[in-house]
Each structure stands twice: as C-alpha cells, then as structure tokens.
Assembly symmetry: C2
Homo-oligomer: 202 residues x 2
Amino acid sequence: MSQERNTEEQIIAAAKKIFSAKGLAGARMQDIADEAGINKAMLHYYYRSKEKLFEMVFNEALDRLLQRLSNAINTNLPLTEKIREIVRSYIEGLMENPHVPLFVLNELQQQPELLIKQFRSKPSFPNIQQFLMEIAVAGEKGLIKKVSPIQLMLNILSMCVFPFVAKPLVKGVTGIDEVQFKLLVEERKQFVADFILTAIQP
Amino acid sequence: MSQERNTEEQIIAAAKKIFSAKGLAGARMQDIADEAGINKAMLHYYYRSKEKLFEMVFNEALDRLLQRLSNAINTNLPLTEKIREIVRSYIEGLMENPHVPLFVLNELQQQPELLIKQFRSKPSFPNIQQFLMEIAVAGEKGLIKKVSPIQLMLNILSMCVFPFVAKPLVKGVTGIDEVQFKLLVEERKQFVADFILTAIQP
DNA sequence: CTTTGCATTAACCAAATGGTTGAACCAGTT
DNA sequence: AACTGGTTCAACCATTTGGTTAATGCAAAG
C-alpha cells in the first residue's frame, strides 16, 4: 500500500505480520518482501538473515507483552485494585495484538534456551518476585485469602491470555462469530476481575 | 529403537512426536522417517503426502483432547463435583501429553476452516450446549452464583490448559525447574478446582 | 558534469525438501 | 523352484527457499 515509509520500518511491519501468522518455519522471505512491497534482497541488506529478522520481530513482540504486564504489576495500588488493573490493562493490550501471545508462546517452546538468555536482560522484565511477595503479605494480613502466590498469578494470566490463543477453538466450539467474540472479550475484563477477587476474598 | 512394531503405527508415533515438536511447517519428512527408523519413501507409501500424514496425527490429537473433555463434561454428577472432575481429569490428561494443546491451537489458527468443518463431525465433540445450560440452571436454582456460562467455561479451560501452552514462559519467569513445574501442575488440580468453586459459590 | 556512496533490483546459486521410481527383498502359494 | 503380492530402500527428480552478486538508480557532494 503505502511505500512512503522508511524501508526498515516497512520491513519490520511486514515481517511482524507474516511471522505472526505463519511462525518462523512457515514464513517465507518472499512473502515478507511482497508484503513490504520491496525486493527480497533488501531483507538481507538490512537484516542479515531470516533468523536475525525473526529475532528482531520476536524480541519486540515479547517486549511489548512483558512491558504491559510490568506496568500493570508495578502500579502503586492496593492488591485487589491492582489485580483489577492488571486484568483490564492486559486484556486491552491483547485486544490490540491478538495474535502475539500464540506467536510468542509457540516460538518460545521451539527454542527455550533463547528465552532464558534474553529474558532477564530486558528492562521490561516484570518484577514477578515482588508481586508474589505482595500476594503472600496480603494473605498474612487477611486482606485476601491465603493462597499460593504462583498459582494465583498463573490463574490471572491464564484467564486473560487463553481466549486469545484459543480463539479459533472457542469460535469453533461455541459457534460465535467475530463480533460476538469481541463482545465476549470486552465483557471478560469485568468478569475475570470479579471472578478472581471473589475467589480470593478472605 | 524397537522396530518390531507395525510400521504404520511406528510412523504415526514418530510423526506425532515430530509434528508436535516442530509444527507442520517446521517438521521434516526425513526427521519423521529417522525417528521411525525407516526409509523416507515409506512415509509416502503408507500416507500419500506430508499433509495427509499431518492430518491424521492432528485429528487424533484433537480427538483425544475433545474426548477427554467430553467424558468429563458428560459425567453424571452435580455441577460442583462435575467441575472438580473436569479439572482433575483434564489436567491429568494434559500431563500425559503436555505438548498437544499448543500444537493443536497453533495449527488451528493456521487453518481455521479445516477446524470448523471436521469439528462437529467428530463423535468426540463435547456437548457444550448442555453443559452451558447446566450452568445456567444451577445459577437459577441458586446452587451456584449466576454467571455467564460461556465465561465460566472459558475460565475453567483457561486455568487447566494455560500452564501447558505457556510452560517455557512460566519456567523462564519464575525460574523453576522441571521437577518443580510438575509439582506445580500436580498441585494445580486441587487449587484450580477450589478457586473456581469459591468464585461461583452463591 | 562527475563522483561518491547508499539503496534497490533482477538474475543467479547452492542447499534443502517433498515426492517418485525401479529394483531388491521376503513371505506365502502353487 | 518359480510365481505373486505386498513391503522396503537407495538413488533420483523437480521445486522451493534462503541467500548472494553484479549491475543500475539516484541523490547529495565535489
């Protein structure tokens, strides 16, 4: 469409789209070039190889995901409200990039080593330990029920992310269409937060 | 190792392993042949093409997933105990085949049409509608809180499945090892069930 | 106008990959 | 022993694919 943009960004945008849709192995350099409206050789001119290009896209995607999570977790709110905020903010972020989580999770499983290396070096790496501690403390104080912090955190993430990675399955099983799906997810911000807070109220 | 087995099954087993690990696009026919300890030509002798072989494996995987879900859902128990049973049975099933859900979800997103076709034809297709109705009725009767049945169902599935599709992420973020991860999941059968039942108690 | 240096492309290349084939192998049958 | 049918394999083939290259375009500098 618009070839006005800077070529480098053009490439990244195209690569993001193709890689997200097809995965590393399934994506073709030619497809990315076509999507960006440029010659295939340009891809190698700017980013040495397929792997390098992928790494760039993947890192950015992972970064955004963690960034958003981190922001919500670091909010300076009482735990119950913080949980509400995490759920709201995270689901909203996913609504903007609905295919990112499956993309990330999928490629993550393929090269778990790559993750563990680059993970902690990220400034966007969320301070999980502190959040877990916060849950434990709130439990002690009787603000919430005493629960396993990790399990609770897993539950929160699960309910936010799962609908997006399982979107085709959900649509297939329930028979709802795209519009209804979006409504469902919208509704979810409220529902999940209430669900969690009810489950952990002391 | 053991080439004693029937070649056909040998192939399916190998294909399942390779396809699960690498996905359709990432899997190599040669790898499958090696894994099965046979010549590449045999793959085509028994299953015409890569796609046909994949379809076979994929269908079986999807089938098992739905089968297990279906069984749990059709149990003749009061709703609250049924939920306990669903969670327990589903997580246990996933523990046996931990990479299946990500595999299925991933390939499902790549060809959503394929799904919607073959989906309802399956005898293993779970009777979702009835389960949703059951939740609605229980809500009316005051056995549980009144909630959106679909949202509740989504929550149940989310919390069971997510840890398996996000396993590398969980391990990366929390820093736990394989043994601890298994413990976490084991613990989860209880935790998730309690969590849900607490959240929906009237 | 020429030069210089980056950007861009068409054509090309080598390796990988899904798929095919003709011959060999190996039971069981006659 | 010869035949028959399915099974197995090494070698081969055509296409795809990531990557390279040599030539061209082109704008700013001289």
